[in-house]
């Protein structure tokens, strides 16, 4: 699961740096924005079957790779 999410993130952010530091703030580093975030949610739904609505989470809940992994895992269970 973790590996798959990192693959998705790498594709959405168009940058392999996301793997280097899993606690990096992706919004602050300009790797994620509103558009990329929507793409991320679609990819998570398509590839992992986990549905997260755009208004369900705040940016602070999903601004690092680790937090995204945690969120998806908790929703999957």
């Amino acid at each position: 699961m973790e590996e798959k999410i990192l693959d998705i993130l790498e594709e959405v952010c168009e940058d392999s740096d996301v793997r280097d530091d899993l606690d990096m703030d992706l919004f602050e580093e300009d790797l994620l924005d509103s558009l990329a975030f929507a793409e991320l949610l679609v990819a998570i739904e398509d590839q992992l079957g986990v549905v997260i609505a755009p208004s369900e989470v705040t940016r602070d809940d999903m601004n690092t790779a680790n937090k995204i992994i945690q969120m998806v895992q908790s929703k999957a269970n």
Partner: protein
């Protein structure tokens, strides 16, 4: 009585704040104070024009039935796209009727024209959307009522989210925590007063006394209007947030130094934030997600551009069915789309975006674009 102006309103706020302070200091719930004072204040404001009060009550009943009714259907029948779309559409019908009354040929329609309907509609629609998402599982009548009626944000926001609001509403604070909240609230109210009643007034006076004859005068006029808009609205928002804090509700911020924005996307992350985030979460993101799933557009960038233009056009239209509001929305939609294309495609941007000189130039251009946007918004473009 009207919101955030005049002695009756501020007198009422003073008494309410004292009562809140007593309850907060003695670690009692603020819940019922919120309910009673909101009913009273909103009632006093609307009753001055009984027709407003009547339409507000109609609106309240319609939306309550829709929100509760849709949630029941959603719980029993699951995610059905058709019922969901019907519910969303019906919930914005009162707003459509209200705005239709502002169109020249429909002046005789005077339905649902009451203070705050534009903002109240957001709160109802989002509850239906979040019910569809499965994020909202229960809506109590009391929670729904106070979420709509909460008097500091009733007429002009900031636009809160129901789940966040309800959590605060039921919270009983510890003395220290409440006093801190009260202090922050007080500070915000004073800052808001200075913004709105001192600085905004000053810019308004400059605009009034200046003839628009020479180029320089025209420029000063345009910039003064931009600053006036900011200090007036940001001041109002600060006061609303401040009073809400005193009542134990941490309403979200609305402005974050918008004139320091370095590009248009940055601007919308700093200007009328609760509105732009509402549009982001309930229109833009959903449009992008749907268009990706259905493969409507050949490229992501193309889809994003269409998304920005639709999103901002709806935002413009929401202000009112006038040409200048629609133009204002389109203007910002096109600028956001162009910004997105430029930032994704330009190697020059990627190489230079972190350099100081680049950021300064980018800030300068953004500032002019923002000011020109206000000029469109003012509906006075043709007079320059």
């Amino acid at each position: 009585m009207s919101f955030f102006s005049g002695a009756p309103f501020f007198g009422a706020v003073f008494i309410i704040a004292m009562l809140a302070l007593f309850l907060g200091y003695t670690e009692r719930p603020l819940k019922w104070l919120n309910v009673v004072t909101s009913i009273l204040v909103v009632g006093f404001v609307l009753v001055e024009k009984p027709k407003q009060l009547f339409f507000f009550l109609m609106f309240y009943i319609i939306e309550l039935v829709l929100v509760k009714g849709y949630l029941k259907i959603r719980t029993e029948k699951g995610r059905q796209v058709v019922t969901y779309r019907i519910a969303v559409f019906l919930s914005i019908v009162p707003l459509i009727l209200c705005k239709a009354g502002e169109v020249v040929c429909l002046y005789h329609i005077k339905w649902f024209q009451f203070v705050g309907i534009s903002y109240l509609t957001f709160r109802c629609v989002q509850m239906i959307i979040e019910s569809y998402d499965g994020v909202i599982k229960e809506i109590k009548v009391l929670d729904f009522t106070i979420f709509l009626l909460f008097f500091p944000t009733f007429s002009c926001g900031p636009i809160d989210r129901s789940r966040r609001f309800v959590e605060d509403f039921h919270k009983v604070y510890k003395r220290q925590e409440y006093l801190e909240l009260f202090g922050i609230g007080l500070e915000k109210i004073f800052l808001g007063l200075v913004y709105k009643n001192v600085i905004a007034t000053l810019f308004f006076q400059i605009m009034g006394e200046l003839a628009k004859e020479t180029m320089v005068e025209k420029f000063i006029h345009i910039y003064s209007y931009g600053f006036y808009m900011f200090f007036d609205f940001a001041g109002y928002s600060l006061m609303a947030i401040g009073v809400a804090y005193m009542l134990g509700i941490k309403v979200p911020e609305n402005f974050k130094k918008p004139f320091l924005s370095v590009d248009m996307k940055d601007f919308w992350a700093r200007w009328h934030i609760s509105l732009s985030e509402w549009f982001r979460d309930f229109i833009f993101s959903r449009f992008i997600m749907l268009s990706m799933k259905k493969k409507w557009f050949p490229t992501r960038l193309f889809g994003a551009s269409v998304g920005f233009i639709i999103n901002m056009s709806v935002m413009g239209l929401w202000h009112g069915p006038s040409v200048h509001y629609i133009l204002y929305g389109l203007y910002h939609g096109v600028l956001l789309a162009l910004t997105e294309i430029y930032q994704k495609k330009s190697k020059f941007y990627k190489r230079n975006k972190k350099k100081k000189v680049y950021r300064f130039v980018s800030w300068f251009i953004t500032f002019q674009l923002v000011m020109f946007g206000f000029l469109i918004f003012s509906g006075q473009l043709s007079t320059y």
